[in-house]
Amino acid sequence: MSYKFDTLSLHAGQVPDSQYGARAQPIYLTSSFVFKDAEQAASLFNMERGGHVYSRISNPTNAVFEERMAALEGGVGGIAVASGQAAMHLAITTLMGAGGHIVASRSLYGGSHNLLEYTLPRFGITTTFVDPRDIDAWKNAIRPETRLFFGETLGNPGLDVLDIPRVAALAHEHGLPLLVDSTFTTPWLLKPFDHGADLVFHSATKFLSGHGTVIGGVVVDSGAFDWSASGKFPTLAEPYHGFHDMVFTEESTVAAFLLRARREGLRDFGACLSPLSAFQILQGLETLPLRMARHIDNTRKVVAHLASLVGGAVQAVVHPDLPEHPDHELAKRLLPRGSSSVFTFNLSGGRPAGRKFIEALKVFSHLANVGDAKSLVIHPASTTHFRMSDEALVAAGIHPGTIRLSVGLEDPDDLIEDLNRGLAAAARA
């Protein structure tokens, strides 16, 4: 049998270095690599041998991270990039250029929404946003120029669970791949390829690292999508003049996407990851299974506590673990280990209650990130969404008293006590 998840999270992609036998992954903090001779140099450039030339294109430390993520996701390979945003950009620009169209879930991280709604249209790539639960909306949004379906495994902010099997099946019926942002779930909670997704990306800044010290991202290819058969992907199935007229689908039956993404995307857009950051992400990945189990365990306790206060200080708790969540049944099927340690709840008061709540907390850190080992909190109505009126917030699915938590690894009793402190302060607002 092949090695299992917990073993792969420690070992995949890394054999002790042949020169000194270092057990930890060495950090190859070098921009470039000395060629053995002219012949080897030519072979590397012409893809006759594997190896590294220049760290914008590939690096041995980054390669371990890439291979490990491919192993954990069950894909054929990965590409490490500078951030989750860079991962999303690389995936999209490898598949399409001006004139391309994306059908995306409307329940997205704000950064992803900005890229799709405002920035990519400047380059001729447009997106239709749909209710992720409405399969007919996905279908009706498809146009002849559509090249990609995109959603998050758990949507923002309501933790809509993407019905990957259903959405992927529809995409495949139309010769389209499904890309998912798997940042919130990590492969420990959900392996999107097992359910039909074709490409996955992560902000590695979050749970994969777990320590909140680096910005990084990764794209992983399942290798299952047949780009040639689809007929919609000339970037992969027709000669690329920018790389010796290579036809990527002929070079590699299952890794054509990765070939183009590295040989063009990293080469030309250049959003490479620092090897130092790759090392730090690898340090985090080693304990991913342990941390995720604790995140989920702590979250269950916090969610249960807040849910017990609904009708009092708490107006509502939004988490797929709860039977009233619209995707409760789907979450049980796709996410049997648990859904997420990032979730929202609404205070019974409005914006002033939100401010008082945040200011009273001592353990939860008030900042704009998720997936840290430490517990985090943000009040969207007074930070990320402060310009919006109460009415506009509600239209966006956010209550003026909505609080987003990212439950960390602290003792759950301390977290609950901290939340109680905040709730008491909110009640006085």
Binding site: H11, A12, M47, R49, G50, A70, G74, G77, G78, A224
Partner: protein, 269 residues
Amino acid sequence: MDIKVSGQSAYVYNGGKKLDISTVDRQPVVVFIHGAQQDHSCWSLQSRWFAHHGFSVLVPDLPGHGRSAGDPLPSVEALAEWIVALLDTLGVDQATLIGHSMGSLVALEVAVRFPERVSKTVLIGSSLPMPVSQALLDAARDDEPKAAEMINTWSYSASGQIGGNTVPGLWLLGMNRRLMERQKPGVFHVDMNACNAYVRAPDSLSSIAAPLLIVAGSQDRMTSPKAAKALLGFIPGARLVSIDGSGHALMAERPDAVLDALRNFVAAA
């Protein structure tokens, strides 16, 4: 290139070079023959070197595999005849044949039955006979994902199961799993049967006069180093290169060592 072999459409990769059908034989020709449930892409690195160093490279998807049409051929003998038909189609009198696993048996069969068509032969991950366990034969017939899992478990060395690919960012076990999944239903069992059923008396190998190289992985659990040595003993003048630390998937696990062995043997005068 897409051509017709015996009236049926076949895809032949040319190592990343444009090859004109009418001028294939202007350079020495090297044919790479893939193994069971595979396609041309298992030869990507090695074939690219030859294509860019003065050789005409033919890397077919065998019938029914990859992009080639038709049903998979039921025996090594039939596959050998198909390789000769491929050479005929392209007007190639003589070629170096390089085969892996099932493909090595095909190369061996051509070398024995059509010696005038073969300038050199390389058998990678080979044994004679090439018995396939009943469990794998049954899985290939009844449960292809299970058969693929068995192949992946047995085809890679202990370190290959962990990774550390020389090609940055690619996870070999995942690559092989997906490549096997890409083949049409039914191909797996036909290929496994072809390996298992192939019979050739060792005595008949003594007639092979063209130079022959065997490349064996020191940790190969599908075609063991011991089997490679036995095969060496059947073929007068044959040479053996052992690749340290590699399992059966030699071109993936030790691509540079395989390329070096091929270069030293094929490209040498």
